[in-house]
Assembly symmetry: C2
Homo-oligomer: 215 residues x 2
């Protein structure tokens, strides 16, 4: 099998999807994970207790306040939400770095401040993708039709939605999610194309030497 010689080794990348509530983020991520291999969701750390059915290392890494403080001190979190009240959440570097090194892409679940922190550290290893709803009206209709939220919750979500939508200007990609198939296809194309970016291909010079020498 001489073909095995020319296999491309690559470095994984980080992807963040942002959308207001009802903006279709979960559906898009589900499509992406269903369509592509070698991509997975990152697992956050949290100081809160596991809820029923939550699995350590799958839903979250459940850690103590002390462990959380140590991760911050050792600069082992890409970003974190650290309030004096309530549980803390963070994105641990080590497991993500390990996946990237193995050539796996990672989807991170971050809000805009987290995206900014991550971009400052990881630069263009991160691609931030904003999903736009066609209108606030459509967004509200989707939430009402979903029927899972009380009216006051929907109102609260709507008051956040405008902020989220305005933040789209600061993302690397902007996808109009008025058609789930089309939007998911665009999201998948961002990941596929990132995989063939020259900077993500490991040892390209060595690969080229192999190609050229196999006469």
């Amino acid at each position: 099998m001489t073909d095995s010689k020319c296999e491309m080794r690559r470095l994984g990348s980080m992807f963040i999807f942002a959308a207001p509530s009802g903006g279709g983020k979960s559906s898009i991520i589900k499509r992406v994970l269903g369509h592509l291999d070698n991509i997975q969701l990152s697992v956050s750390v949290t100081t809160r207790q596991p809820r029923d059915g939550e699995v350590e290392g799958k839903d979250y890494y459940f850690i103590s306040e002390e462990q959380f403080k140590k991760l911050i001190k050792d600069k082992q979190l890409y970003e974190y939400v650290d309030s004096d009240f309530g549980p803390k959440y963070g994105t641990p570097k080590a497991p993500v770095e390990e996946l990237l090194k193995q050539g796996k892409d990672v989807i991170l679940d971050l809000d805009y401040p987290g995206v900014q922190s991550l971009k400052a550290i990881a630069g263009d290893r991160v691609k931030a993708i904003a999903l736009l709803p066609p209108s606030i009206r459509v967004l509200k209709e989707r939430l009402v039709n979903r029927g899972t939220d009380a009216d006051d919750v929907i109102e609260r979500r709507m008051s956040m939605a405008e902020k989220r939508i305005r933040e789209s200007q600061f993302y690397d990609y902007v996808i109009m999610n008025d058609d789930l198939d089309k939007a998911a296809d665009e999201a998948i194309s961002i990941i596929k194309s990132t995989r063939v970016e020259r900077k993500n291909i490991c040892e390209l010079e060595e690969l080229i030497n192999q190609i050229v020498e196999d006469k």
Copy 2:
């Protein structure tokens, strides 16, 4: 139709595919053009005479030596090949700029020096994509099986191939063309994802205002 309000206007981009002879460039471009709308090949200018069946404005713009010199003087060519002997070729700016403004993507047929010139002028409006063969051996087999070239032509092409392959290191994307379906799909994903890059979306702030105001 309130939906027409939220349509995204975008700026086109330039794409260049590079490959050694037999590297599958024509097949990939054919797939790309067959699969996507709003993308077309750029038409070069040349000082040579039209050959049988060649159509002005489709195959080339056929121009005089004087017109060619004037285009250079007026900086109206992205790049050109200007030898004292033989016909001259160049990529005219005006028709490409017009297509980009209309939101159409343009595939340019340039060699590496041309890519460098264009990158210097147009920066990240240009995406340069190198297609790698699995090996020089496979490349030669493809050319022999194609049966259109004499042995000495094949030898000459092979001596150029190594240079072309090494230049891949300087492209934005590198696609391994060992499977035409996969390679074409990757090429298409580069173009699709470029279309949703924030920088290529016109009047995003205005679009966001429309989305937010439609309650």
